[in-house]
Amino acid sequence: SQQGEEDPQALSIQEGENATMNCSYKTSINNLQWYRQNSGRGLVHLILIRSNEREKHSGRLRVTLDTSKKSSSLLITASRAADTASYFCATILYGQNFVFGPGTRLSVLP
């Protein structure tokens, strides 16, 4: 598997439900970032979690990090149709190169 690999690849839920996406990585990291992409265009930074943090919140977003399992999860609570997007985790590899996973495509149905 590649560095920063998200699962599931695709997720469909009803509005109001919670959505959970996972990211696994291979190498040790100092932090992990989550991004959102709408309509195949530019990405928007959502949240950064440092290696010494286990959980972080931002509005309806909750990110966890388990460095022992080399995994992170992004939880979106009370989802809305506007949350429909692709979600990517990103880590640093070999210095300054960000490595983005293939993403999870989330569809929130009204």
Binding site: Y35, R41, G42, H45, Y94, G95, Q96
Partner: protein, 115 residues
């Protein structure tokens, strides 16, 4: 500036032609990144500029790809002798400084179609 801008937003070209894609980063951002994203796929790192340092070109897929950054601001990604497999969305991002603790701000991308 208001954000990272890229031009053109769409580019259709014929196989074998050269194309130039432009990126205007946020003013004051010293780090600039280029990525490529094929349909439904993740981001593929291409090249990274940090200040006046030599760029990290380790992600460029072939010698047909090159990029420059003039005056530490605007960047141009050039693809020579385009091939159909070059069709993708090319994304540019900038950050205040290099390093993994810095958020990347992305432009809207240039959708390149090679016929």
């Amino acid at each position: 500036g208001a954000g990272v801008s890229q031009s053109p937003s769409n580019k259709v070209t014929e196989k074998g032609k050269d194309v130039e894609l432009r990126c205007d980063p946020i003013s004051g951002h010293t780090a600039l990144y280029w990525y490529r994203q094929s349909l439904g796929q993740g981001l593929e790192f291409l090249i990274y500029f940090q200040g006046n340092s030599a760029p990290d070109k380790s992600g460029l897929p072939s010698d047909r790809f090159s990029a420059e950054r003039t005056g530490g601001s605007v960047s141009t990604l050039t693809i020579q002798r385009t091939q159909q497999e070059d069709s993708a969305v090319y994304l540019c991002a900038s950050s205040l400084a290099s390093g993994e603790y810095n958020e990347q701000f992305f432009g809207p991308g240039t959708r390149l179609t090679v016929l």
